[in-house]
């Protein structure tokens, strides 16, 4: 067994915010959820707080979006116009198609009432009358559990006219996806919610002003919203005291407040999901909780959060799992579900696999993304076949420049980041797969392992 790291430990059932009810029999039913305190925060918000006070509390909490981009949630809620005559919507991003990521699946399967409670508090805060929960089609049990929770909540007067007897009405429905990664991108999701292909929109207008069906809309990730009941119960400041504070040296730093579900999958002994306060290192996560490498192998590289972030080498794992910290280390927190590659993983093959994903999932609207992802995949395939030359690595570098930052949405950037980091950090593996070169200088360009 790999040694458990001494600190910080995973949270205990008492200190958990998101996974409090994991492991409790029937946690997804209203009866059990209520016994364990569900909807008390909704009652508190509706009964004793004005909507703007709820927004203020969430701002104070420094809660940042858990869908990957880390945008401050309270600030996003504040963008919704107060004087719009149109209906307003809360859209829950439960598309969770980011490879390596499975946190929202646990949350929806095990605690759908906490999700409804968070979404209803958000709806009250911004004046929304309807919640859409966009769940990927490949999550049948999540769809069943969330739909079940909606039915129970309606029957109990928690959804519908006069929520819990207060002068606030709101309903909720599930919208099932049908297999498309791009529908996790918030505006692709809105198109898909409207019954169209998931083609991301050009922003502005931002969804807060013109979102679902042309109406003001707040889109938040499942995990983001599930923090909100705790914030309402204990106050924004109590939430902000957990986790990592903003970097005093950087006035733009927002810190990483609160707790986070973090996962590990891939080449480790005990893949899984745990809730931590921000602050554990990636090494502690991968070795201490993920159990370290499989028998007889060594860890080579880790993508810290999903597939869409730059890779870190084994030597770079001592970074703390936080938004600013991982960015400073040249990567990003992403979804905080790490994918681990070991010494049996050929990085050229891995790049082909990764490039294929993005080529497959590009929606096709932007030329750099549509053509570029396929082109990258073809180059990796050529290198794999042994027909590559060092010029292919230059060609890739040129493609990275011409793809990144030149498209409607961030899928294209998400393709470049892992691939570019692997090509640069493991350059030697690519050169070794190439035809012997007449120029003797070629092999000396190594820099990877």
């Amino acid at each position: 067994m790999a040694p458990r790291p001494p600190a910080p430990a995973a949270l205990t059932p008492e200190t958990r915010v998101l996974s409090r009810n994991f492991g409790v029999a029937g946690s997804w039913t209203l009866a059990v959820a209520r016994e364990r305190g569900a909807y008390a925060s909704l009652e508190k918000a509706l009964g004793s707080m004005r909507p703007d006070e709820v927004v203020e509390e969430v701002k104070k909490s420094r809660l940042r979006g858990r869908g990957g981009a880390g945008f401050p949630t309270g600030v996003k809620w504040g963008f919704v116009p107060k004087d719009s005559p149109k209906p307003k919507y809360i859209v829950v991003n439960a598309d969770e198609s980011e490879p390596g990521t499975f946190k929202d699946r646990y949350l929806m399967e095990l605690d759908p009432h906490l999700l409804l409670e968070g979404a209803l508090i958000a709806a009250y805060a911004v004046g929304a009358s309807k919640v859409w929960i966009y769940i990927r089609g490949e999550y049948p049990l999540c769809i069943e559990r969330v739909e079940g929770a909606i039915r129970e909540a309606r029957a109990a007067g928690i959804l519908g006219d006069r929520v819990l007897g207060h002068a606030f009405s709101c309903d909720a429905d599930v919208h099932p996806g049908a297999g498309a990664y791009i529908c996790g991108e918030e505006t692709g999701l809105l198109e898909s919610l409207e019954g169209k292909r998931g083609h991301p929109r050009i922003k502005p207008p931002f969804p807060a002003v013109e979102g679902a069906f042309g109406c003001p809309t707040v889109i938040n990730n499942v995990e983001t919203l599930m923090h909100v009941p705790w914030i309402v119960a204990h106050g924004g400041e109590a939430f902000a005291r957990q986790g990592l504070p903003p970097d005093p040296a950087n006035p733009r730093s927002l810190g990483s407040a609160g707790t986070k579900l973090m996962g590990v999958s891939g080449a480790v002994r005990t893949p899984g999901l745990w809730e931590f306060e921000f602050g554990i290192t990636l090494r502690e996560l991968v070795y201490g909780y993920g159990g370290g490498p499989l028998e007889g192998r060594a860890i080579k590289a880790v993508i810290p959060g999903g597939l869409s972030m730059p890779v870190l080498t084994e030597a770079e794992l001592d970074v703390r799992m936080g938004f600013d910290e991982l960015q400073k280390a040249g990567s990003g927190l992403g979804t905080a579900c790490a994918i681990v590659m070991d010494d049996t993983c050929d990085m050229v093959d891995a790049c082909e696999n990764i490039a294929h994903f993005f080529a497959d999932e590009s929606c096709g609207q932007c030329t750099p993304c549509r053509e570029g992802c396929h082109w990258m995949e073809k180059i990796f395939r050529r290198i794999r076949s042994g027909a590559g030359t060092p010029a292919d690595l230059d060609l890739l570098e040129g493609l990275f420049v011409n793809i990144e930052g030149r498209t409607i949405c961030a899928l294209a950037d998400a393709a470049v980041w892992p691939l570019r980091s692997i090509v640069r950090k493991f350059r030697g593996e690519f050169l070794r797969r190439m035809r012997p070169q007449p120029a003797p200088g070629a092999a000396a360009v190594a820099g990877g392992r």
Binding site: A178, G195, P271, C337, F357
Partner: protein, 160 residues
């Protein structure tokens, strides 16, 4: 000829779905899920036209959805649909061998094409969100995890 859509047995469910949305056409995704389940696991051009008429959109709009979203079949599909995850984590944990086993056992020439006997369709899928239990496979909508080629063969043999 478009089929009469929805058929009587789906009418109530379809009306309930359409009523959720401020515009009728927004119901397309859940309606297509229902239709595909009802009509032998695929949406024929006739069903496509029926759904289009029901939602008040053009046939081409529905065709656009069927080709965009991985879960819909716009060609005859096998009676049993097998999804093999091909994305990084599953690939690291042996997904390539699973795909080979799936094709060999079902007699499908390649992913995306049904077997000659119409029994199976194998699809390459991207991350199914079961990565901590990789490698992952779905058979007829039911997830299976930590799948070995032998276990997959047994699962497939149990399909009619």
């Amino acid at each position: 000829m478009p089929v009469e859509f929805p058929p009587p047995e789906l009418r109530a469910a379809c009306e309930e779905i359409v009523a959720r949305y401020p515009v009728r056409s927004a119901a397309a995704l859940p309606i297509l899920h229902l239709a595909q389940r009802h009509y032998d696991n695929w949406i024929s051009p006739e069903v496509e036209a029926g759904v289009a008429r029901y939602l008040g959109v053009g046939d081409a709009h529905v065709r656009g959805l069927l080709t965009f979203y991985a879960m819909y079949n716009h060609r005859p599909a096998g009676r049993h649909e097998v999804w093999v995850c091909r994305t990084l984590t599953c690939w690291l944990r042996g997904a390539a061998a699973l795909k080979a086993a799936a094709l060999a056992r079902t007699g499908c020439a390649r992913a995306g094409e049904p077997s000659a006997d119409g029994r199976f369709l194998v699809k390459d899928m991207e991350c199914l969100g079961l990565c901590e239990l990789a490698p992952a496979v779905f058979v007829d909508g039911t997830p299976h995890t930590h799948v070995t080629p032998e276990a997959l063969a047994r699962l497939l043999d149990a399909c009619e």
